[in-house]
């Protein structure tokens, strides 16, 4: 029983940890695809909805 509870707890903690790491890399598309040549800015609530 102890090993089962420990395993489930570890899985949940690991999943949250992974979520934090992945979300730190994730960017909104307007930020990810902005380059010096492409004038892509924060669209705000225009067209794509609230960011």
């Amino acid at each position: 029983m102890k090993s089962f509870v420990a395993a489930v707890a570890f899985a949940v903690v690991a999943a949250f940890g992974v979520a934090m790491v992945l979300n730190s890399y994730q960017e909104a598309s307007w930020a990810a695809f902005t380059t010096s040549g492409a004038r892509v800015g924060d669209p705000g609530t225009n067209l794509t909805g609230p960011t």
């Binding site: 029983m1 102890k2 090993s3 089962f4 420990a6 395993a7 489930v8 570890f10 899985a11 690991a14 999943a15 949250f16 992974v18 979520a19 992945l22 492409a38």
Partner: protein, 341 residues
């Protein structure tokens, strides 16, 4: 007035000419009337697609770095859509429901596999705490991954009508997050499981004999010898490792799709992920069955880590002997006096 009379005559002549021309038109047979045949010579869709495509896509011209933005039509996408909406649900349904039916029939016909000599009350350690931790880490992640994955394939058809759109959407949102994030501890468990158990899961001659006797699972009273893991368990081990590896690789490409070249590769990996998942789930149902309902005394191995000595001797006789020798206990097969301490 002379001008008006000639104008009148000219107008009348023109009218007569028009009527005559009209008569000519209507007098012709229908086929000869037209100079082209729109249906015969019109471009057919497949000709258009074959003429325009470079490789497997019909592309335009773009000036941005993302080459995939040039893709206008991907004809293979229709085949992919037909497969994952048509054949895949059948594959999944037959595999999973078929396995459930098979297990139900097996339980009805064979019944629960009982210990012939009954429980002795003495136990022997089968799985250490860390082994059980790794098993339950992988297994609990697998359950959530399987259910959330099945929701992706079947949820809209089976769950949505039961709970309504809002509840289904909320559930699916969290199921998707759980699926994406629990995949990582699952992969970790898989790697560690491979490392700690590979040495006991190499197939051998004992396994050939075990398979020849059907594992003793059908015939009551027959117990072919087995080491720590019998051939059935080794089969499950390799299904988990190979299936899990395929799920991990395909899943990696699905969660990081920019790693692939284009949508065609993504479609292939989606098919791999879905088909392997269905078969994997079916195999795990059999594993869960035999480890719980199917055989008495089996669950203790992963529950407490300790199994009854009679259980070990019946189902893993060679392993039980090895363990008893290690512990210094007298072997049942070659009894000899144990020196006094």
């Amino acid at each position: 007035m002379p001008g008006s009379f000639s104008t009148f005559k000219l107008a009348g002549f023109k009218a007569l000419l028009a009527a005559f021309a009209l008569l000519l038109v209507f007098a012709q047979p229908a086929a000869a009337q037209l100079s082209f045949k729109p249906t015969a010579e019109a471009v057919h869709e497949d000709k258009l697609l074959n003429a325009l495509k470079e490789g497997d896509k019909i592309t335009g011209r773009i000036s941005i770095p993302d080459k995939n933005a040039a893709n206008l039509i991907q004809p293979a996408g229709r085949d992919w859509r037909d497969f994952h909406r048509g054949k895949l649900p059948w594959i999944g349904g037959i595999a999973i429901l078929g396995m459930l039916a098979l297990l139900a029939v097996f339980l009805m016909v064979r019944g629960r596999i009982r210990l012939h000599k009954g429980f002795s009350g003495r136990t022997i350690l089968r799985f250490a705490g860390f082994e059980r931790f790794i098993h339950w880490l992988t297994a609990s992640c697998f359950i959530i991954l399987a259910l959330s994955g099945l929701n992706v394939s079947f949820g809209r058809t089976l769950i949505l009508p039961l709970f309504g759109a809002d509840a289904f959407a909320a559930m699916s949102h969290y199921a998707k997050l759980a699926h994406n994030y629990l995949a990582f501890p699952f992969m970790l468990g898989l790697v560690i499981m491979f490392l700690i158990w590979i040495k006991d899961n190499i197939p051998g001659k004992v396994d050939v004999e075990w398979i020849k006797q059907g594992g003793g699972i059908l015939a009551n009273g027959k117990h072919p010898p087995a080491r720590r893991f019998n051939a059935g368990q080794k089969g499950i081990f390799w299904i988990v490792i190979v299936g899990g590896a395929l799920m991990s690789v395909s899943g990696w490409f699905l969660i990081f799709p920019y790693l692939l070249g284009s949508v065609t590769e993504l479609q292939v990996w989606t098919i791999v992920h879905a088909v392997i998942a269905m078969l994997f789930i079916a195999a795990m149902l059999a594993h869960i069955y035999i480890g719980s309902v199917g055989m008495e005394g089996a669950f203790d191995a992963m529950g407490t880590g300790e199994v009854d000595v009679n259980w070990a001797k019946e189902h893993h006789s060679l392993w039980a002997e090895e363990q008893q020798k290690k512990a210094g206990a007298p072997s049942d097969r070659t009894p000899h006096a144990v020196p006094a301490e």
